[in-house]
Amino acid sequence: MGRSLNYVLIAGLILGLSGCEFKPVKKHGEDDQATQQADRDSRYGVDEGGPLDIAELNDPNSLVSTRVLYFPLDSVQVSNEDRDVIAAHARLLSSNPEVAVILEGHADERGTREYNLALGERRANAVQQLLVLQGVAQSQIQVISFGEERPVALGHDEEAWRLNRRVEILYSGY
């Protein structure tokens, strides 16, 4: 009984998420903080006591412990090693259709910001495409690009740039 209730809750949360429409809206003088709160509240996830066992995500020997994928300059090409990583994530996600991920695309600081925003999305889309091809439902994946706005490495050299050209696979709660 507790089990099925959990499923209902998760399904509800996923529905709530996919029900998020992004349409042009007109709101005057609304409170920034409030909107942000409201939007931040529409989170989804798997409760610790839930029926799913994705302890695999915490196993350093598992391929799915790799959740950041790196890209060459100006490229959206997924490397061969990362294809294996993505395949492992695809297996996990397709066998756990209740689980959802956010794919966050990023670029390094070089070049123009708006182009990099598009490039970050392209990288995340490339990963999404591979996941979907391997049986993950579109509804399990959300793509967000931050372009060059959220670097992880703050340096201004090749090494920092390499670390910043990335897609992060974010599981809620992990």
Binding site: G29, T35, G111, L117, A118, E121, R122, V143, F146, E149
Partner: protein
């Protein structure tokens, strides 16, 4: 013979948090052949110190333009304040082409009367003379207007000193939390006022032609969405928030439309939003990245970045109310990276970010003659934006690993840098002339 120019005192600006002179300007490359001009400190007709050093503000403005070389203060042979006090022979001996004299008078109503005369040393005649009434907080602005009058009288072209720039600043506190601010300042970096502050990334500020509204991209709801904010009333509106990216918004020259990049249909494409009807028209249709739209001044064309040819290059496409009017035409062929085009107000020049041996620099292409020229020699330049008179390009670059703004004349002769005391400053956007209309 003085023309009269009455200036309304009340500045219509009520901005969020005024702060003082945060940006400092350093001229990094002067110009040989700039016209020597002497600007005598204005006479102050009252007790104490004058409320603003108007001559110094004017001198700095004119020097920044690259067309003028103000005479150093210690070389001033005399301190006349009126044309009839000027001994032209002395100034000719110093090879000065022009002379500016003036005075500031405190009025009983706490305002000031600023008078000045621009004199041609060779012809021994007056080129311009004005009397401007100004409130105390408007004196810097009055100085910029004087600079505009002098610039116009000598070069024949309008000055762009009495205009504004908008830009983004990013600072980090001790807990490594970032703060993103959208700020507006006078064209010389003074009088900075923050109009929006967020802990989430902010991007792509651009002016409405009325000079009262800014359009920008905010991540405040976790993804890039487009907002318009009135900088006077602080009112803001979320304009587009589709799935995917909502980015690179720019007003059409008449302000009736907004061009932008949306990936709602799966791929970054250029769209035009009609501000009145909210109708959305798709302009590009290509599997590649299409982004960074810039309007041609006649509103009948859009220049954008696309990697449809394998590397990011600039293209032009004709547009009307129904959408594109033809096929996109590639404009740039120099090197493997030309992006974020900006078109000069007369439609002649296209400024862009150009990659050369791994360095990103500002380049300009003559759209009529086709000449291409790299203007800067730094390595991480971004976001070029033309001054409304088309003479300068302001852009973002880095200096000792900090984001700073810099400006370069379109001919590449004059360069200057605007730095923040702390943090990064980026994505400058120069306002239109109208921004300061009273």
């Amino acid at each position: 013979m003085l023309k009269k120019l009455f200036v309304v005192i009340a500045l219509s600006l009520v901005l969020v948090s005024p702060s003082r002179a945060v940006l400092t300007i350093e001229i990094t490359q002067g110009v040989s052949g700039a016209s020597p001009i002497a600007i005598v400190p204005f006479e102050w007709i009252d007790k104490g110190a004058p409320p603003e050093q108007i001559h110094a503000i004017v001198g700095a403005d004119l020097q920044r333009s690259g067309f003028f070389q103000p005479l150093p203060k210690q070389d001033l042979v005399a301190r006349p304040h009126r044309a009839n006090e000027v001994n032209y022979k002395n100034w000719r001996a110093l090879n000065v082409d022009h002379l500016v004299v003036g005075r500031i008078q405190a009025l009983p109503d706490d305002n000031y009367q600023v008078q000045f005369q621009l004199l041609d040393v060779h012809k021994r005649s007056q080129l311009a003379g004005y009397s401007i009434r100004s409130g105390k907080s408007d004196l810097r602005r009055t100085a910029h207007q004087i600079s505009d009058i002098i610039y116009k009288a000598i070069t024949g072209k309008p000055g762009a000193f009495d205009t504004r720039i908008a830009y983004i600043t990013v600072t980090q506190n001790q807990k490594k939390q970032k703060s993103y601010r959208l700020a507006v300042a006078d064209s010389d970096g003074h009088n900075e006022q923050v109009v929006y502050e967020s802990k989430h990334p902010l991007m792509s500020p651009s002016w409405a032609p009325d000079g009262k509204r800014l359009v920008y991209v905010s991540f405040t709801r976790g993804r890039p969405e487009v907002y318009i904010q009135n900088i006077v009333t602080r009112k803001f509106e979320r304009i587009v928030a589709f799935k995917g990216i909502n980015s690179a918004p720019v007003f059409s020259p008449d302000g009736s439309k907004l061009a932008m990049t949306l990936s709602k249909d799966g791929n970054p494409e250029i769209y035009i939003l009609d501000m009145a009807t909210k109708d959305l028209t798709r302009v590009t249709r290509n599997f590649a990245i299409d982004t960074e739209p810039a309007w041609m001044p006649d509103g009948k064309g859009i220049i954008f970045t696309s990697d449809r040819g394998g590397s990011p290059q600039l293209y032009r496409i004709g547009v009307n109310a129904q959408g594109p009017t033809g096929r996109a035409k590639r404009l740039t062929f120099e090197g493997s990276y030309n992006a974020r085009g900006a078109v000069s107000p007369d439609g002649r020049y296209l400024a862009m970010v150009h990659r050369e041996e791994g360095r990103y620099r500002i380049a300009v292409q003559d759209l009529k003659a086709g000449h291409f020229r790299v203007l800067t020699d730094s390595r991480l330049d971004e976001s070029p934006s033309f001054s409304p008179n088309g003479s300068m390009i302001i852009y973002a670059t880095e200096d000792k690993y900090r984001g700073v703004l810099a400006a370069v004349s379109v001919d590449g002769r004059s360069q200057q840098r605007l730095s923040l005391r702390t943090g990064d400053v980026r994505e400058p956007a120069w306002s239109s002339f109208k921004s300061r209309q009273r």
